[in-house]
């Protein structure tokens, strides 16, 4: 098990290098370090010396991928790409181009992001699984068909409509919750209720359909027939046997996203004015702050890879037949 995890982590290194490479190429395709310096320093007081010192301070004065002035292999290693990537691998995100410490920014903004993403995820998962099981209980009845039609309809509406309609209804007309904003601590609850509920509702359609099809596949298995033959009620067959066996395919889809919850939701955060990582990223993209974009892409990739490893580990926990090798 340990050996497996270590091997997966080593395998992650070329992937992360690739991720960095893509970010680099994309960003420096149109931006030269000079452009970045000019944008950050402001157009008025820039002199060639100031630009040079800005670049030297942040390490942007080296060539991108190939340093012709150096001998041998150092031609490739003494470059902007290698230097900046190496720092990321030890999670030294450095300072943003505007001069703020990225690591502390991420730490600070992670919690508001989690405060939305985690409840949305947990409540959403529990609701959709319960609903799916109930629909399976009433399978092949009018209830089943109606529920599936409603699920397709929920899926066919853009998430933006749910957000706008929710804000208009609950904040503007009913005045139940504030329209947007955030406060640290427990006071944040009143700001979080609406985005969490909207997030859960928007995911109901796709989730219920997906889990329903998983459970329907399970319900024709032999163990279900045996359980029924034992005289178990349909409810306990579903919630005890089918649910546990259905967990395996559910896990494949679910565990991989758990670490990514830290990244927050771009749309929710910007609509509800929540100072999380999603809005952080979108601001950085708009301000062309390469250091932040690079750090967030790297962070996201690391979380994704952790998710993949967690998925494999969770298999061994839920299905003892699976051995990692």
């Amino acid at each position: 098990m340990m050996a497996y995890i270590v091997r997966r982590l080593i395998y992650a290194i070329p992937i992360l290098i690739g991720v960095n490479f893509i970010t680099f190429v994309l960003f420096f395709m149109v931006n030269t370090p000079d452009d970045m310096a000019r944008a950050q320093l402001g157009a008025k007081q820039t002199t060639p010396e100031l630009i040079a010192s800005w670049k030297a301070e942040r390490g942007y004065d080296k060539p991108l991928f190939f340093n012709a002035e150096q001998p041998g292999l150092v031609k490739l290693s003494d470059t902007l790409f290698v230097e900046q990537s190496l720092k990321l691998f030890v999670f030294d995100f450095g300072k943003s181009d505007a001069g703020r410490d990225i690591a502390s920014d991420i730490q600070e903004r992670m919690w508001p992001s989690l405060a939305i993403a985690l409840p949305t995820f947990a409540i959403g998962l529990i609701t959709t699984i319960t609903l799916a099981l109930l629909i399976v209980l009433f399978r092949a009845t009018v209830l089943d068909t109606t529920a599936m039609v409603i699920a397709v309809m929920i899926m066919s509406i853009s998430g933006l409509f749910y957000i706008i309609a929710g804000q208009v209804l609950f904040s503007k007309i009913l005045h139940w919750v504030p329209i947007s904003g955030y406060e640290p601590g427990w006071a944040s609850v009143k700001f979080l209720i609406l985005p969490v509920l909207i997030g859960v509702f928007a995911g109901l359609g796709a989730g219920t359909r997906w889990y329903r099809s998983i459970f329907l596949e399970e319900i024709n298995r032999d163990y279900v027939r045996t359980a029924r033959a034992k005289g178990l009620s349909e409810i306990s067959v579903l919630f005890k046997h089918v649910l546990r066996n259905g967990m395996l395919p559910i896990l494949t889809g679910v565990v991989v996203v758990i670490p990514s919850l830290f990244m927050g939701s771009l749309i929710m955060e910007s609509f509800f004015g929540i100072p999380g990582l999603g809005s952080y990223t979108i601001d950085a993209i708009n301000a062309q702050d390469f250091a932040i974009v690079k750090a967030m892409v790297f962070f996201g990739a690391v979380l994704y890879i952790i998710g993949l490893i967690l998925t494999d580990i969770s298999y061994t926990i839920f299905d003892p037949r699976v051995r990692l090798s």
């Binding site: 970010t23 994309l26 397709v152 899926m155 996201g300």
Partner: protein, 465 residues
């Protein structure tokens, strides 16, 4: 008139030609034909397909672009053309498009939505809602509005019904001839719902669609059926223009993504070894980058390139079109990974099957093995992925435009309409009709696509048999 072929026009018409060719080939293969008939045997799938056809026709109509010749030409000189590119849809909507008001007005309103300060003849300052310039200008008295709307609605519905009746009987006659039946016999079977396919549903959906279109179009000439936006533009026209953007993003992205996914997925599964390693590395890397970040970063890069090279584009339409093209390319380049993974797994499985081993033993070339044995056997995965992706992409356009990395802000799209609506909803009293129109137009398209893809999945996925 001078034809203008925008990049996306060429792509979408090319796709139509390819689809027709593909349809012709599959019509000669009895198995595949039987599968498609099975898909259309469902009433819901038939109705959805008709709705999708309506959207596709609007998008195609909007993909015929030209520049009109200016009216006053001096003879002997080179003909002068208007700087603005118009499409066939613009031409159809010419009158509705030109009937702009000053500002917001509600659907079927005769007066502006917000009040303005005016001076009356006696010089007193009044606050009142001004009359709209175009909407209801033909009415002698505002009180006639209700009866006028009813009258015009009845006329539009009657014309639409007559037209659809004519088209349906033509189709009936063609079907009857193809099947060697008499016209009345075929009509009877369709009405009883006993024809080979649920034609009754198809005819009903078609008539309903035609009636709605005719009603919107005819009344659009006399009122603003869906209201006007901030600068007085007709929302009905904007909603129709947005159809092309949504449909094209859904359709053309597939065109970009498919070859990549097919070539890489099949090679990985068939050749294995280092080819497989490289391809797996490629898609794991692309997958690890948070999707929207990758798209946003790529779009911003392209945006900078476009602003730095204004000389590439003759008109604003061409620039907006180029941006749509780039967006489609980016979406395609970032979304091939999941299909590629499925295709790789399936190819791995198929290449172990006896008939492929046999073919290899007989010395059949790799290329032949791919085209004869592998491609036909992975086609159902491709089709399911394509129809599933379509609705996801239409929805994605709205989100991307909202984040500011979608289509050009000057291009009509549902995403841009929703984006504006966000501010409109905060106004007092609320301006709801832009959001409502975008909602309805998008919902119908995505719902139809989802229902259709459900059916395709049910019929084609071997797991369900």
């Amino acid at each position: 008139m001078m034809w203008v072929w925008l990049w996306t026009d060429i792509m979408v018409w090319g796709l139509v030609v390819a689809l027709v060719a593909w349809g012709w080939t599959i019509s000669r293969s009895p198995q595949v034909k039987a599968q498609w008939l099975a898909i259309f045997r469902s009433k819901i799938a038939m109705a959805s397909a008709i709705i999708l056809l309506f959207y596709l026709s609007i998008a195609l109509l909007d993909s015929l672009h030209f520049r009109l010749a200016l009216p006053d030409q001096t003879p002997g000189q080179e003909r002068q053309y208007a700087g603005q590119t118009t499409s066939a849809l613009d031409w159809v909507f010419n009158e509705i498009r030109s009937q702009t008001e000053r500002t917001y007005s509600a659907p079927f309103a005769l007066k502006e939505h917000s009040s303005s300060i005016v001076k009356d003849e006696a010089g007193r300052v009044l606050q009142q809602h001004l009359d709209l310039v175009h909407a209801g200008a033909h009415l002698a008295d505002p009180s006639q509005r209700a009866s006028d709307i009813t009258q015009k609605s009845l006329f539009a519905v009657a014309v639409a019904l007559a037209l659809s009746g004519l088209l349906i009987s033509l189709h009936l006659a063609w079907r009857a001839r193809a099947l060697g039946r008499r016209f009345g016999e075929q009509a009877g079977l369709v009405i009883k719902g006993k024809a080979d396919l649920p034609w009754r549903t198809a005819y009903l959906t078609f008539s309903l669609g035609l009636v709605i279109l005719a009603w919107l179009y005819y009344l659009g000439h006399y009122y603003h059926v869906l209201g006007t936006d901030k600068v007085g533009g007709d929302v009905l026209y904007q909603s129709f223009k947005s159809v092309r953007t949504g449909v094209l993003i859904g359709v053309l992205t597939t065109l970009v993504m498919l070859p990549l996914a097919l070539i890489l997925g099949i090679s990985a599964g068939l050749f294995r070894g280092w080819v497989d390693d490289v391809i797996q590395y490629l898609y794991t890397t692309l997958n690890s980058i948070p999707g929207i970040l990758l798209i946003a970063a790529s779009v911003l890069v392209m945006q900078t390139i476009i602003t730095n090279n204004p000389q590439w584009f003759e008109t604003a339409t061409e620039r907006a079109d180029f941006r749509l093209l780039v967006l489609v390319l980016i979406l395609g380049l970032t979304s091939w990974t999941s299909l590629c993974r499925l295709l790789r797994a399936e190819t791995l499985k198929i290449s172990q099957v006896e008939y492929v081993t046999a073919a290899r033993a007989f010395g059949v070339s790799r290329f032949k093995i791919i085209t004869r044995h592998i491609l036909p056997n992975v086609m159902h995965i491709v089709l399911i992925a394509v129809v599933l992706d379509f609705s996801a992409l239409v929805l994605a356009e709205a989100v991307l435009s909202y984040v500011g990395v979608g289509v050009d802000p000057t291009m009509h799209s549902w995403g841009n309409m929703i984006n504006q609506a966000r501010l409109e909803m905060a106004r007092e009293p609320m301006v709801w009709w832009s959001l409502f129109s975008a909602f309805v137009f998008m919902f119908i398209l995505v719902l139809a696509a989802n229902l259709f893809s459900d059916r395709v999945q049910r019929v084609l996925d071997p797991k369900n048999n």
